[in-house]
């Protein structure tokens, strides 16, 4: 260890010159090696930097081609603006430039209502801050006026904001953007690429119809004290959505809290066991593949028990029913018998073709996948025939219905307006089956469970549905919580529109936790009648006037012919 602390360094001069030369030669080798690495790094830096110069040139060309300064505008089918851009101003103050904070805060509070004078004074007089924000979201007009007052030390900063003139009316369809103008919901998200590159989007929505439906729906939504409500109106010829409403909704112009319940688009996201509207589909399958006719008989007097489950009817009939009566009385037993005759596999194939087992084809990002049993045994098949055991979204129901009743070959449900001419006739099911189903639906509104949907002068066909919701705590179905809906097609003699109205947990007498019979017929069918009455003129559907309608009774004096 002694040697460690006794450095005795020999100089080169005591050694041979030969070794010194060797060392210098080796040093040169190292220098060459290091220089090579250095040159490699040089070339890499230059390469990356030059690469960008090229990219810059290319991108500047594309920038001049489409002016993407402004996000694209969203319009309805008639060109009404649903989403556009406006300038909003942010007011900043520079405390170091303000000599008289008292006067400044005084003037500002006089000019701008609801401004806390004390806060402004504190902000403006705080000389340690370089800049402070006084107010955000000032309109251009107001900003111009405030600027003209010439208060020193204030400055306005413009920023582009998204503006939704229809507010709540289009909240779920259009969605909204975040602060950096990127779509986070609805159409704004789905068509983000197009919109951000400055392209406008035209939707198939008719804002007049949307407004009329929403107004009627909101009235009943409040009257029935429902949890949520949904209404969808679709065109059977083009498979376009004319109106889609989900209640409760929100105002996209205000700041948005994603955790609130109304943020959810129930029309495309909420999964429900729909109930009896599925009888349309099971009957369609029966007519097509199951050798079922309008006058086929089904004995529903005996209790129908499969393994340990018993199927019950909402309106019990202790007799033999034919197919028409099964539909009109909405008999679960009858539908089960048809489905059992058909077999589980056939039913599954048919539902699958209807698109009930996969995501909807609608062009909006918020979608939900249906829930259904993996194995379709006897009890499952019986349940599925009347819409239990399978959870779908309202848009699924509309899509499946337009597959069956559409006038042209179905492609997909869309919200974006597409100017395309369709030629192929719809051959999803045979013509006779379609006519039979339409006949049943018309009869249902005239004499069956859907009587409340009857509107004089407009031929309407429809099917009610009342489904009990699953209560996980109870471990079964909860009779006090219903999903009531009504699916209608009108005008029935020349089908053009589908309308679905759905209430989640509606109540007739406003008593929570008690089943007061808020069935589809008593809730959604009534609402549908009101809606059709209002929108038929907007849609240009002719009213079928009878002779009596043309007579206008005028007091006691007698009868006048209004048209003459």
């Amino acid at each position: 260890m002694k040697l460690f602390f006794n450095p005795n360094l020999k100089n080169f001069s005591q050694e041979k010159d030969y070794e010194n030369n060797q060392i210098i030669r080796r040093l040169f080798l190292v220098v060459f090696f290091m220089t090579a690495i250095g040159l490699l790094i040089f070339s890499k830096i230059i390469e990356i930097a030059m690469l960008y110069e090229k990219e810059l040139v290319n991108s500047s060309k594309t920038k001049t081609e489409n002016n993407n300064l402004f996000r694209g505008v969203i319009k309805d089918r008639n060109g009404k603006i649903l989403a556009s851009n406006i300038f909003k101003y942010k007011l900043k103050a520079y405390p170091r430039l303000i000599n008289d904070p008292v006067l400044t805060s005084e003037i500002l509070t006089q000019q701008i209502p609801n401004l806390d004078k004390r806060r402004i004074y504190n902000q403006v007089s705080n000389k340690s801050k370089f800049e402070v924000v006084i107010l955000r979201n000032i309109t251009a007009k107001k900003a111009k006026y405030l600027n003209s007052l010439g208060i020193p030390g204030l400055e306005f900063f413009p920023s582009i904001k998204r503006f939704y003139p229809q507010e709540n009316l289009t909240s779920h369809i259009i969605g909204h953007t975040n602060k950096s103008l990127i779509g986070v919901n609805g159409i704004e998200k789905t068509f983000e690429k197009k919109l951000s590159s400055g392209e406008d989007i035209t939707l198939s929505i008719d804002i007049r119809v949307q407004h009329a439906i929403r107004e009627e729906l909101v009235k009943d939504f409040l009257a029935f004290n429902a949890k949520t409500a949904t209404a969808i109106l679709a065109d059977l010829e083009t498979n376009e959505i004319l109106s889609m409403i989900s209640l409760p909704d929100f105002n996209p112009n205000l700041s948005i809290n994603p955790s609130i319940y109304s943020y959810r688009n129930t029309a495309t996201l909420n999964l429900y066991e729909m109930g009896s509207t599925f009888k349309i589909f099971s009957l369609a399958a029966g007519f097509e593949f199951g050798d079922v006719h309008l006058n086929s008989n089904f004995d529903v007097s005996k209790p129908l028990t499969i393994s340990r489950f018993t199927i019950k009817d909402y309106h019990p009939q202790n007799r033999v029913l034919n197919t028409k009566e099964v539909f009109l009385k909405s008999s679960n037993k009858g539908a089960s018998l048809i489905a059992l005759k058909l077999g589980g596999n056939n039913l599954k194939n048919f539902y699958s073709k209807l698109g009930l087992l996969d995501y909807s084809s609608i062009d909006i990002k918020e979608k939900a996948k249906p829930k259904y049993p993996l194995k379709w045994g006897k009890i499952e098949t019986a349940n599925l025939s009347f819409g239990y055991g399978i959870s779908i979204t309202p848009i699924h129901l509309v899509e499946a219905t337009s597959l069956i009743f559409g006038n042209f070959k179905f492609e997909n449900v869309n919200l974006e307006l597409k100017a395309k001419k369709r030629k192929d006739k719809n051959n999803f099911i045979s013509f006779t089956t379609r006519e039979k189903l339409l006949y049943l639906m018309e009869q249902n509104v005239l004499y069956g469970t859907g009587k409340n949907a009857f509107v004089k002068g407009y031929g309407i066909g429809g099917k009610t549905a009342t489904a009990e919701k699953v209560n996980k705590n109870l471990g079964g179905y909860d009779k006090t919580k219903l999903v009531s809906s009504f699916l209608s097609i009108f005008p029935i003699n020349k089908p053009k529109y589908i309308c679905l109205v759905l209430f989640d947990e509606p109540l007739l007498k406003n008593t929570v936790g008690y089943n007061d019979g808020a069935t589809g017929g008593k809730t959604a069918a009534k609402t549908t009648a009101k809606i059709i009455k209002r929108i038929a003129p907007l849609l240009g559907i002719e009213k079928e006037n009878t002779y009596e309608d043309l007579l206008v009774k005028k007091g006691r004096k007698g009868i006048n012919f209004a048209s003459f």
Binding site: M1, L3, F4, F5, P7, L9, K10, N11, F12, S13, E19, Q22, I23, I24, R26, L27, V30, V31, M34, T35, I37, G38, L40, I41, F42, K44, I45, I46, I48, A49, M50, L51, Y52, E53, E55, L56
Partner: protein, 373 residues
């Protein structure tokens, strides 16, 4: 000391010292302060600190490292050797202490906290360790420890391996690799003994294989680097910064990509320079680093003994290889390591270590009377 002797001392110091290298070192350090000033505010804001927190700290450590540089540049060889033995023992003990202390605290074990500042003892050990390695290699006589004789080179290798064990425990693989590289260089310069060189390479290989399989983050980084098209976030942003800067840069303080680089003030300061000052300034800075290296090596080659040559050139290689590794990482040539850019990057330990390295290099390359440069 009276005034005249101080004057004499400083006069002889300035006459014998490598003025060009000193000037370049000071220039690069001040440029480093400028770069940290533009790069660190966004990082400080992210961490919720005062905007100029890092700048103030950097300035403080800069002054201390200048003091170190001056102190070491005045030292004679003997003082340097004694000092190196003393400090490397001290820092090795500190490293072990930090290992034990942090295995209890369950934290990153590179750091030890002294008087409110967290220091990286391994960073400070580096220059002294290389001086010791140079001393051991330069000894022609065998060294007697108790009744055993050791050849200096083997002893050097043994010391480095035992230090590496501690470094791997930390874990700090990049430093192990750098130290082995420097040792290899020193062996090469002192005259190749093929057995020793191959055993050094073999030891290095074993360490790298061991580290590859035993520590998942090393494995991940290397596999990520070799097989993935998508580099990790920082490297991607770093390349973006080079692109955004182009040849002439966006201008001081105008960089935008830099705000997205979490380590913009330490390991990834070079892309910030590239973005704001352009590729040409980057090349100038690398050139300056190379000039310091070449100039130092030139003066080292005139050294009067093997020890001065080995230690000064070893330290120069250490300095250069750190800079090159740092820049290569930011250019996606090498996988991500924790190596800072000497003289420029923010970091107290890194600055102090660089100050010591430069001080020793300047001291060992001082002009001797009678030698003609």
């Amino acid at each position: 000391m009276d005034k005249i002797s101080i004057y004499k001392l400083s006069h002889s110091w300035i006459k014998s010292i490598d003025v060009l290298n000193l000037f370049l070192i000071v220039l690069l350090t001040f440029l480093g302060l400028l770069f940290v000033t533009t790069a660190s505010p966004s990082v400080a804001k992210l961490k919720g600190l005062d905007e100029f927190y890092f700048v103030k700290k950097h300035g403080f450590f800069m002054i201390i490292s200048f003091v170190f540089l001056l102190f070491f540049s005045f030292c004679s060889k003997k003082v340097i050797i004694y000092g190196s033995f003393f400090s490397s023992t001290a820092f090795t003990i500190l490293m072990i202490v930090s290992l034990i202390q942090n295995s209890i605290n369950n934290g990153a074990s590179r750091w030890v906290s002294i008087m409110g500042y967290s220091l990286q003892p391994s960073e400070l050990l580096k220059p002294f360790l290389i001086v010791i390695l140079a001393y051991l290699i330069s000894r022609k006589k065998r060294i007697k420890i108790k009744s055993f004789f050791f050849e200096g080179k083997i002893l050097a290798l043994g010391i480095l391996i035992s230090i590496s064990v501690i470094l791997i425990k930390q874990p700090n693989y990049s430093m192990v690799a750098i130290l082995f590289f420097v040792l290899l260089f020193q062996f090469f310069i002192s005259g190749i003994n093929m057995k020793l060189v191959s055993s050094t390479i073999f030891a290095g290989l074993i360490f790298s294989v061991f580290s590859f399989y035993s520590y998942p983050h090393v494995k991940n980084r290397i596999i990520h680097y070799i097989f993935s098209d998508k580099p990790n976030y920082q490297v991607e942003k770093s390349i973006q910064a080079y692109k955004s800067g182009g040849l002439f840069g966006t201008g001081p303080g105008e960089g935008k990509v830099k705000k997205n680089i979490p380590d913009a003030h330490t390991d990834f300061i070079f892309p910030v320079i590239a973005e704001e000052y352009g590729a040409i300034v980057c090349i100038l800075i690398i050139s300056m680093i190379f000039i310091i290296f070449f100039r130092g090596l030139y003066r080292a080659s005139k050294a009067e003994n093997l020890f001065s040559l080995l230690s000064s050139s070893g330290l120069l290689v250490l300095f250069l290889i750190q800079a090159l590794i740092n820049i290569s990482v930011s250019l996606k040539i090498l996988p991500t390591t924790g190596v800072t850019l000497p003289l420029i990057s923010y970091g107290g330990s890194s600055l102090l270590s660089t100050g010591i390295i430069m001080g020793i290099i300047l001291a060992l390359t001082r002009k001797k009377f009678g030698t003609n440069f």
